[in-house]
């Protein structure tokens, strides 16, 4: 074998390897892949995972679902955006991400192109987060905090639907006394889940959150009253209520051991209608909240990161996950609130959830996002927790909240949001 021949063989092999590597590189880079974050709740994330195979088959886009508990999800999303990592293309979140809105990609172009959201509940798209006039999120799983009650117990006790908080407290007291022998308490709440405690203020507070000069501030008289009423209601809760997690508080209601529970309906709906998991099937309904304050709106939104390398693919996934067909399926299977009017008008669903829908829709209609940053909301929650455990009085709590809040900056999008929802002083 001549040297020339050997050289030729090496040269050809070299060329083949180079071409192979380039081709492989092209093929590899052509594989579209995105990652989407969800809260690990056993609902939103599980529903997303269920959709992945079908989406991949239809679009050829690979999707990774990254699920985290709520507090961690917030951190993961924010860190990814601030560091410009771009690990997550689609992010689940809400108003508490206001500090990082500028890192989200405007969706108006996609929304217009696909006529997106036209069959959603009226006004829902308008409640989505915006930054500098652009819409940056689209809704899924809208849920409004609600007060669920036992229709049978109310009826037996001769109590009508209470219209005010004082009437609700009176009802809780009456039911607590009446059914004491049966081990049924008047009311239950997940006080152990501290992050849920702001609801005690939101639904009973008839004031603003932001002053005319754009500072966080609670109107003391209104806020003190709201906290006092919540504390009063807890007098009719089971012993140990201060330590109950969301699941535990819901379980008390599902077992038929409480006449009322204040909770996210999507966390309990599926179980409450399932005879295998509930003793109260057909015996409960949702109470429209009295018309003070506002029901806490948990409207998950999906955002596209500015650092996403494939924003089109990210939008495809968002569209697929939030499509009307899935909304009904998710509602039935996981109890996830639907963003579409058709779900609530579906005859099949109306028959099954007729007791649930009127209250849910009434609360959803009035529900709002509080214009609070994560830090402001966390402080509010911890301070209410201090009141509940008896460390401080409601008066001191409101004073502490206002002192702390005065040191916090209110992000511009939240000021706009507060203006639009009447939560900013004029």
């Amino acid at each position: 074998m001549s040297k020339k021949f050997v050289r030729k063989v090496f040269f050809v092999t070299y060329i083949i390897i180079v071409i192979g590597m380039v081709t492989a590189g092209i093929c590899f880079s052509q594989e579209r892949e995105i990652t989407a974050t969800y809260m690990a709740s056993g609902t939103y994330d599980v529903a997303a995972k269920e959709l992945v195979p079908e989406f991949e088959r239809l679009t050829g886009i690979k999707v990774k679902i990254a699920a985290f508990p709520w507090a961690i999800l917030r951190e993961k999303n924010m860190t990814d955006l601030i560091t410009g990592t771009g690990k997550y293309d689609v992010m689940s979140g809400s108003y508490y991400l206001a500090k990082v809105y500028e890192f989200f990609y405007p969706m108006d172009k996609y929304i217009t192109k696909d006529n997106y959201g036209i069959s959603m509940i009226s006004g829902l798209m308008k409640k989505c987060q915006r930054y500098e006039g652009y819409q940056i999120g689209v809704p899924y799983g809208p849920d409004a905090y609600s007060l669920l009650y036992r229709t049978d117990l109310f009826k037996k006790a001769g109590i009508g639907i209470p219209q005010t908080w004082d009437a609700i407290i009176q009802a809780a007291k009456k039911l607590d006394t009446l059914y004491e022998g049966e081990g049924i308490d008047g009311y239950v709440f997940s006080c152990g889940a501290i992050e849920q405690l702001p609801i005690f203020l939101f639904t009973k507070y008839n004031g603003t959150f932001i002053t005319a000069d754009n500072k966080y501030h609670l109107e003391p008289r209104e806020a003190i009253q709201a906290i006092k009423k919540s504390k009063k209601l807890l007098e009719y809760a089971p012993p140990g209520v201060l330590g109950l997690s969301i699941d535990e508080a819901n379980a008390v209601f599902l077992q038929g051991k409480a006449a009322m529970v204040e909770c996210w309906p999507s966390f309990i709906r599926a179980a409450a209608n399932d005879p295998a998991r509930s003793n109260i099937v057909g015996k409960w309904a949702v109470l429209p909240y009295p018309k003070v304050g506002f029901p806490w709106l948990s409207m998950w939104e999906m955002f596209i990161s500015r650092y996403s390398k494939d924003k089109d693919a990210a939008w495809e996934w968002i569209k697929f996950y939030t499509r009307e067909k899935n909304a009904k399926y998710f509602f039935t299977k996981y109890g996830i609130g639907s963003a579409y009017t058709s779900t609530y008008q579906d005859p099949e669903l109306l028959e099954k959830y007729g007791h649930d829908f009127p209250g849910i829709l009434a609360n959803l209609k009035r529900a709002k996002n509080p214009p609070l940053t994560g830090e402001a909301q966390d402080f509010l929650a911890s301070t209410i927790s201090q009141v509940l455990v008896g460390e401080i009085t409601p008066e001191k709590a409101v004073e502490n909240i206002n002192t702390k809040w005065a040191s916090l900056e209110v992000p511009k999008p939240l000021i706009e949001m507060a203006e639009n929802s009447g939560l900013k002083a004029k």
């Binding site: 507090a71 917030r74 951190e75 924010m78 860190t79 601030i82 500090k99 990082v100 500028e102 006080c191 152990g192 501290i194 140990g240 201060l242 330590g243 109950l244 535990e248 940053t373 994560g374 830090e375 966390d378 911890s382 301070t383 927790s385 201090q386 509940l388 455990v389 460390e391 401080i392 702390k404």
Partner: protein, 296 residues
């Protein structure tokens, strides 16, 4: 002449060998440390890009005026001041009972060390389940003997007590294992001589054992005190700082400021205050240890 040249080249070689490690330590440890020191004097937002502006001591002033910081610092101090002596005493007693070469001692030591080998996050999670008011094992067992268990993690006092228990359970083995090593290193002759002189068990403990292990004891105090001040994992997994702010220890407070709210300059200043405090504690304790060693 030749010898000194050889020594010189040998020194250069040593330095050359040390350089990679030196640079690694400088980059991996000192650079972030110095950088955090620098940003503690600046106004800088991770979120909105603006040039970093020097603001002198204003972050430190903010931290020291913050009632939450002061509260968290106080909680951490109380936590460390309780856990350290308790771990020390129980650790010593256990070590005193199981120091020796007998097989049963070795097995007991191995079993007792287990809590220390579990990841702190797992320890927190396990204890959170054990302490659950309605479904936890502890309240179940208490109920079996006719006691209504408290709401462990739901009231400030019981929640604080709970995290003390968790820390003591996890870290007493650390004190124990060091004490075992210290006790084993005392020459047996000393004990034999004391026994011949008619010293009682208590006198041997009081006048021989305790003085000889005093320097090591100071070191255990140093490790455990600083470690207790820096506790975060079990707080994160059991109480998340609550209820209210009752278990909001200093490191958890700093963590939230830095990584949840992205108040990075505040967090840097708070970390440096904590760092300086820990450094002072370490200096005082090391001086104590040195003096005790001299006495021995």
């Amino acid at each position: 002449m030749k010898l000194s040249k050889f020594k010189q080249s040998e020194n250069i070689l040593f330095i050359l060998f040390l350089l990679p490690a030196f640079f690694f330590i400088v980059i991996a440890q000192f650079y972030p440390l110095l950088y955090s020191f620098y940003i503690s004097f600046t106004k800088w937002s991770l979120i909105k890009w603006k040039p970093i502006a020097l603001v002198g001591l204003s972050n430190y002033q903010r931290v020291l005026q913050d009632s939450l910081f002061k509260h968290a610092f106080k909680i951490s101090l109380i936590f460390a001041c309780i856990t350290t002596p308790v771990e020390l005493v129980i650790g010593f007693l256990l070590a005193y009972m199981i120091t020796g070469e007998r097989k049963i001692y070795k097995i007991t030591r191995t079993i007792l060390v287990i809590p220390m080998t579990i990841a702190p996050v797992a320890v927190g999670t396990i204890w959170r389940m054990l302490l659950n008011t309605r479904a936890g094992l502890i309240n179940y067992l208490l109920q079996k003997i006719g006691i209504n268990g408290p709401n462990w993690l739901a009231t400030p006092s019981t929640a604080f007590f709970s995290i003390l228990i968790v820390d003591i359970w996890e870290w007493t083995p650390f004190a124990m294992i060091i004490f075992v090593a210290a006790l084993s290193s005392i020459p047996v002759d000393l004990f034999s001589a004391a026994q011949i002189d008619g010293a009682s068990r208590w006198q041997i403990l009081r006048y021989i054992t305790l003085p000889l292990i005093a320097p090591i004891t100071v070191l255990i105090v140093l490790f455990r005190f600083i470690d207790s001040i820096l506790v975060i994992d079990i707080i994160y997994t059991t109480t998340y700082g609550g209820p209210g702010f009752s278990t909001n220890v200093i490191t958890f407070h700093i963590y939230k400021q830095a990584l949840k709210y992205f108040n990075i300059t505040y967090a840097a200043a708070a970390s440096w205050i904590l760092q300086i405090f820990c450094l002072l504690v370490a200096i005082v304790l090391l001086m104590c240890s040195g003096k005790l060693q001299e006495k021995i």
